[in-house]
């Protein structure tokens, strides 16, 4: 698409120019300035994490010092011991709740996205345009609009204060369907037709031919859905009002409010809740970035 026909000589000039520019990249003062700006920017980005992390190892006396210290003077792991042994804060239970919700969301959304992406890409049926148009329209409707009726529906289905209340309403994801349709449309029809000639049922073709073609796309979508589910705040806040059924973000805000005067404890709790998943997301960042740049999905 971008190829421009150019004479051989011009190609040589530009490639020579590229070499020259690359060598210039490492030497000039403007380049140093760029690195300096980026390093300062990176430092400013990291400071809030660093300050929180370091403060979780400070004593209560030190954290109340004015002006505050940056590095802990009397390094202690006592905060973590207190948080982990707090009977009001069974962290494992809340981790379990968050994992159940996130994994169920991922499995459900991957299945429905692959299935309906496949159908929209490969089948013709009456009302297809209307249905796909409605799926796209869903993207335009703010969550706050459907939030109140969705709550009333869950109340009638008796799913409030139930983890299912976080799983069932988010079973179909418009972004997921849209993304999967793009990938499915690339699969050659001949591949599906040859399976049909062999007498495979349509459901079997979907599971055994179509789904395996989606590998990386499913991984990308899965990680994004996991991330959004894990970090969700507003909907769990509304649906889960009983303590032991809550997910991690809700319990973390509750805990920090309870310990507003003991910042050392709330920072240790924050580290325990935020950091492990942050590390996982960091390892996965290639796929997350790929997914975001492909779809423009936004949490």
């Amino acid at each position: 698409m971008y190829q421009i026909d150019q004479p051989q000589a011009l190609a040589e000039i530009t490639s020579a120019n590229r070499v020259q520019r690359q060598s210039r990249r490492r030497l000039t003062p403007p380049m140093l300035l760029i690195y300096l700006i980026l390093i300062v920017g990176a430092f400013l980005t990291v400071v809030p994490f660093l300050f929180t992390f370091l403060s979780s190892f400070k004593t209560l006396d030190e954290i109340r010092q004015v002006p505050p210290t940056f590095l802990p003077q009397n390094f202690t792991t006592e905060n973590y011991e207190t948080v982990l042994n707090d009977p009001d804060l069974p962290l494992l239970l809340f981790y379990r709740n968050s994992v159940i919700v996130a994994v169920s969301n991922v499995v459900l959304v991957l299945f429905t996205s692959a299935l309906f992406g496949y159908i929209f890409a490969k089948f013709r049926f009456w009302g297809k345009r209307l249905l796909f148009g409605y799926i796209l329209l869903q993207l335009m409707i703010p969550f706050q609009v459907t939030m109140i009726p969705a709550y009333l529906i869950l109340a009638r289905l008796n799913l409030l204060n139930n983890l299912l209340g976080l799983i069932v309403p988010s079973g179909i994801n418009a972004f997921g369907i849209f993304l999967m349709r793009q990938y499915m449309s690339v699969i050659p029809d001949e591949l599906l037709d040859s399976a049909r000639v062999d007498g495979a049922s349509e459901w079997r073709i979907f599971f055994q031919i179509a789904i395996p073609q989606l590998g990386p796309a499913l991984a990308t979508l899965g990680i994004l859905i996991f991330m959004f589910s894990w970090n969700a705040y507003l909907w769990p806040l509304i649906v889960l009002t009983e303590q032991n059924i809550r997910t991690l973000p809700i319990i973390l805000t509750w805990y920090t409010n309870q310990h507003a005067n003991q910042l050392n404890l709330s920072m240790a709790a924050s580290v325990l809740v935020v950091m492990p998943v942050l590390l996982v997301f960091l390892v996965m960042q290639r796929w997350i970035i790929q997914g975001i740049t492909l779809t423009g999905i936004k949490g």
Binding site: I4, T14, N17, R25, R26, I34, L38, G41, A42, T45, V46, V47, P48, F49, F51, I63, R64, V66, P67, P68, T112, L115, F125, L131, Y134, M140, I141, P142, F143, Q144, V145, T146, I148, P149, A150, L152, I153, V168, G171, I172, R196, E202, M227, N231, Y233, L234, I238, L252, T253, L263, S266, V274, L278, L282, Q285, I289, I292, G296, K298, G299
Partner: protein
């Protein structure tokens, strides 16, 4: 009937079976969890509805939850009641928030993406990774970290101000004073509450990595020939950016502007956690907070639904305006 036709009709019925067994549950599901909520929300907006009162029928509308026509919307525009005033305050705050976030975000992320793209491939992934860290952090984590940075006694910002004044006071320069960043109802800069500005800074910090990676991807999609040709013609870095890169980024700027604006209009987590309910004076009360508080704290769900419809219309309007303003008819 030939053998081939036989297979064909067999396949057709198999396809029909597949489509029926997959689309029927989907449509039922969409009807219950998507179409019904949207219609219900628009319906609620015309009622004085509270979930605490049992009305008539399955939806509980009518009876103790009477139909009031356009009264909610009239109140929103010109009503004197507390909730009407809070709505207008929230609307104003939402617009201020979004109108500040969008340009500052673009002013940070476009140059940052250009800078990251201009350095060697060795360090590029490391910077991209660091700038992406806040995006993958849960907004609850972000709110707690920044709540701590802004802490009036023990926070980092006031700590820096104390250190600065220890340095400056002996020199006879009057230093900036310590601030109550999030809860001082009187503090404001250029008419915008300090609490609002503080949250905008935290929000920008959380969000800038997102647009940055989108702009990096867009920059990588711009053919190298264009910049090289300009370079051969003697254009300097700024001229190349201004006349080549920026115009070619236009479609991406449109996309990111719409997405940034949409999510700024729907900001909730940071504000609710750092200044619960939008603060005592409602300085940071935005529409999502207004909707949440009315529906789930004060049980005014009909009113709250009408506010959410207003938010919906606003979001649609802004999106359409942005598409008009930034529309391009050419591709490269």
């Amino acid at each position: 009937m030939s053998f081939a036709e036989n297979i064909f009709t067999g396949r057709e019925s198999s396809k029909k079976f597949f489509l029926t067994t997959s689309l029927t549950p989907m449509i039922i599901y969409l009807a219950i969890f998507s179409i019904l909520p949207v219609m219900w929300a628009f319906l609620l907006a015309f009622f004085d509805y509270s979930a605490q009162r049992t009305g008539d029928g399955l939806l509980g509308l009518g009876g103790a939850n009477p139909y009031i026509g356009l009264q909610n919307f009239q109140n929103m525009l010109a009503g004197e009641s507390l909730e009407a005033q809070q709505f207008r305050l929230s609307l104003g705050n939402t617009i201020v928030f979004a109108l500040l976030v969008l340009p500052i975000n673009l002013l940070i992320t476009i140059p940052l993406a250009v800078l990251i793209e201009s350095i060697g491939t060795r360090w590029k992934p490391i910077f991209r990774l660091i700038f992406f860290l806040p995006v993958v952090t849960s907004s609850v984590g972000v709110a707690i970290m920044w709540g701590y940075l802004y802490h009036p006694q023990n926070g980092l910002f006031n700590g820096l101000i104390v250190m600065l004044s220890n340095l400056l006071t002996p020199l006879g320069i009057s230093p900036p004073s310590r601030q109550i960043w999030l809860t001082n109802p009187r503090a404001e800069i250029a008419g915008i509450p300090l609490a609002m500005l503080s949250i905008i800074v935290a929000y920008l910090w959380q969000d800038f990595g997102y647009n940055t990676i989108i702009f990096i991807a867009a920059l990588q999609g711009i053919p190298e020939h264009f910049r090289e040709a300009a370079n051969v013609d003697g254009a300097n870095g700024w001229q190349i950016f201004r006349h080549i890169t920026l115009p070619l980024l236009r479609p991406t700027i449109l996309l990111t502007s719409v997405l940034t604006m949409l999510s700024a209009f729907q900001v909730f987590d940071l504000i609710q956690i750092m200044t619960p309910g939008g603060g005592a004076q409602g300085q940071t009360r935005v529409l999502t907070i207004d909707i949440y508080e009315n529906a789930f704290r004060f049980q005014r769900m009909g009113w709250s639904a009408s506010v959410s419809v207003a938010l919906f219309l606003l979001v649609m309007l802004i999106t359409l305006i942005q598409f008009r303003l930034l529309r391009t008819d050419w591709e490269y």
